[in-house]
């Protein structure tokens, strides 16, 4: 058997020992599917003004309008179907969360590995910045950045990247320090490979396991943080309706008892974040040698 396939099989055997994590992974895959194919799977296009009728505003779940359209989760203040709005919202939330996570992973592991590799003054400067940033709660860092740059899609993504990169940098550095002492690095040095090649072709792949664990947990955190910022009206603009924004819209109607406008997007957000966290939690246990 191909060693790569064998490795994946072994990994899966390990992973599937935890039923909760497997279920979470399936749930997350479903959410991802819905988010990617939102325009195909939603019953209506919530942002097509031709199909949205203000006559249908704030219908309760399981109700029908006069022309027989069925609204499983009711409609919001503008008469949009909540199911479709949530599907489109997931798309935005996941998109922003995953995109910022990937960028933060790249930036963080670059600085983390290079700090471990070069050491000296460069390392202490980078790691001090990381320490300082990590001593502040993420929401505060995000607030500072958004207060300074204003709101918008790119700015929210930048804020989320700046919030997260320090976690990746710290993880990457600590595992790179371990890897640096191994023989294969000495071997690569003897072959006179360039520093860049050693750092990113040899060390980086061996640091991936902890980085992936941090990545899953951080992505969940980023999605939740983005929702919070958007709810506060500081994150994404109204033109990019994420789940946080949907919840914020529903907040206005809540005192009149129209619970569904806020609740259902929140449930979607909760399921998304919880499924990612559960998968990440299990991955962490799997990669943690102390628990075996």
């Amino acid at each position: 058997m191909n060693p790569k396939v064998k490795k994946i099989k072994e990994f899966w055997k390990d992973f599937s020992s935890n039923k909760v994590a497997v279920v979470s992974l399936i749930v997350f895959m479903l959410i991802l599917f819905v988010a990617v194919f939102a325009p195909l799977v939603s019953p209506t296009d919530p942002y097509d003004l031709n199909t949205v009728s203000i006559m249908n505003s704030r219908l309760a779940p399981f109700s029908e309008d006069f022309s027989g359209n069925y609204f499983l989760l009711g409609t919001d203040g503008a008469g949009r179907d909540m199911v479709s709005a949530i599907f489109y919202g997931l798309r935005v939330s996941l998109g922003v969360g995953v995109l910022s996570g990937i960028f933060a992973l790249i930036i963080g592991s670059f600085f983390g590995i290079s700090a471990a590799f070069f050491g000296g003054k460069y390392e202490s400067v980078v790691m001090r910045i990381v320490d300082i940033q990590l001593s502040f709660p993420s929401i505060l860092v995000a607030l500072i950045i958004l207060a300074a740059f204003g709101k918008g899609v790119e700015k929210t993504i930048i804020a989320l990247i700046l919030v997260q990169w320090a976690y990746y940098a710290r993880t990457a550095r600590s595992s790179a320090l371990v890897e640096l002492n191994k023989e294969y690095v000495d071997a690569a040095r003897c072959l006179a490979f360039s520093n860049t090649r050693i750092m990113f072709k040899h060390i980086l792949p061996n640091c991936m396991a902890p980085l992936i664990v941090v990545g899953t947990l951080q992505t969940a955190h980023a999605i939740s943080l983005e929702a919070t910022l958007s709810f506060l009206g500081l994150g994404l603009p109204i033109t990019e309706p994420s789940l946080g924004l949907l919840i914020g819209n529903g907040f206005e109607y809540m005192y009149s008892g129209d619970y569904w406008i806020s609740i259902f997007p929140g449930v979607a957000l909760l399921i998304t974040v919880a499924s990612i966290n559960l998968v990440g939690d299990h991955l962490r246990d799997m990669f943690n040698p102390r628990l075996h």
């Binding site: 607030l143 919070t228 974040v273």
Partner: protein, 302 residues
């Protein structure tokens, strides 16, 4: 400061759209916004050293004073929620660490992941919906009556005030409960394997005493560190809870100020909170040496 001063046009937010050009120019001059950015920055630095962080564009009062007025409300919210989270989380965490295989422990741990994943603001909305709108048990907005006790004004001293603080504090505590549970559990599991626990057992001490004295005392060390730092994050996250529950603290003030581009208040808030964090870290470090003699000994020998 640099960034905050370059975004948006606060003048547009301030004066009514029908004002004529002369009026607009008068406001700009009054706020000192007609001068070059470098000059504004220098002016800011000089005044900051005198303890003056500028007047709020909206309220016309010194920004520092505004924030200090709102600070007690935030502190009382954060303290009360810290109290709630410790009272709930430490016993649950010890239990989950003491009997890691039992059903209850698994439920506790599952619950803590759920609590970790739940967005604070959404839970706040649910709380309002259930307890304030549907059941009508607790009020959902404001701070309630403020009582005075030992010269301190706080809504914690009146029944009405307590009923106001309960929901937002519980909401704010939720996230901390999850993290303190996990921390306590991890600590308990580690300590339970130590020799001195085995020794205590072989001496025939009751399990109750072992848990309450030997385990509890030793897990306090990591908990104090984390809780001290978490207190800062409670203050930071209170921006969200205060907005949901319309709690008149400094968190709500900063969110409103960001909306209104009230720059002096934003800058003052950030400076206060950063100073606050520095002090908090210092206090935690000092407390640490009290709780863990090993740290002190190491410090002496150096």
């Amino acid at each position: 400061m640099g960034g905050v001063n370059l975004v948006g046009d606060p003048v547009e937010m301030l004066i009514n759209p029908e004002a004529d050009q002369a009026e607009v120019e008068r406001v700009i001059r009054e706020l000192g916004l007609d001068r070059p950015v470098t000059e504004q920055y220098w002016y800011f630095l000089v005044n900051a050293f005198k303890g003056d962080l500028g007047d709020s564009f909206i309220f016309g009062e010194p920004a520092l004073k505004l924030i200090i007025q709102r600070m007690p409300a935030t502190l009382e919210l954060a303290l009360f929620s810290l109290f709630i989270s410790l009272v709930i989380a430490i016993p649950l965490g010890i239990f989950a660490g003491y009997k890691p295989e039992s059903k209850t422990s698994k439920i506790i741990m599952g619950g803590s992941i759920l609590g970790f994943s739940m967005p604070t603001f959404w839970v706040g909305i649910i709380f309002i919906m259930i307890f304030a709108v549907h059941l009508g048990w607790l009020p959902s907005t404001g701070r309630g009556e403020i009582g005075t006790f030992l010269g301190i004004n706080s809504s914690l001293f009146t029944l009405n005030g307590l009923s106001h603080v309960f929901l937002p504090a519980l909401n704010l505590a939720l996230f901390k409960i999850s993290s303190v549970i996990r921390l306590t559990r991890a600590g308990t599991r580690e300590i339970i394997l130590q020799d001195y626990i085995t020794f205590a057992r072989s001496k025939g001490l009751s399990e109750k005493r072992i848990v309450l004295v030997h385990i509890l005392k030793n897990i306090l060390i990591p908990i104090v560190t984390v809780v001290g730092l978490e207190f800062g994050s409670l203050i930071a996250f209170s921006t969200v809870t205060e907005t949901v529950f319309a709690w008149p603290g400094m968190g709500k003030l900063i969110i409103d100020s960001i909306y209104n581009l009230d720059r002096p208040v934003i800058v003052a808030y950030l400076m206060i909170i950063v100073t606050f964090f520095v002090f908090l870290n210092l206090i935690v470090d000092i407390l640490y040496t009290f709780l863990d003699p090993r740290v002190r000994i190491k410090g002496d020998s150096q």
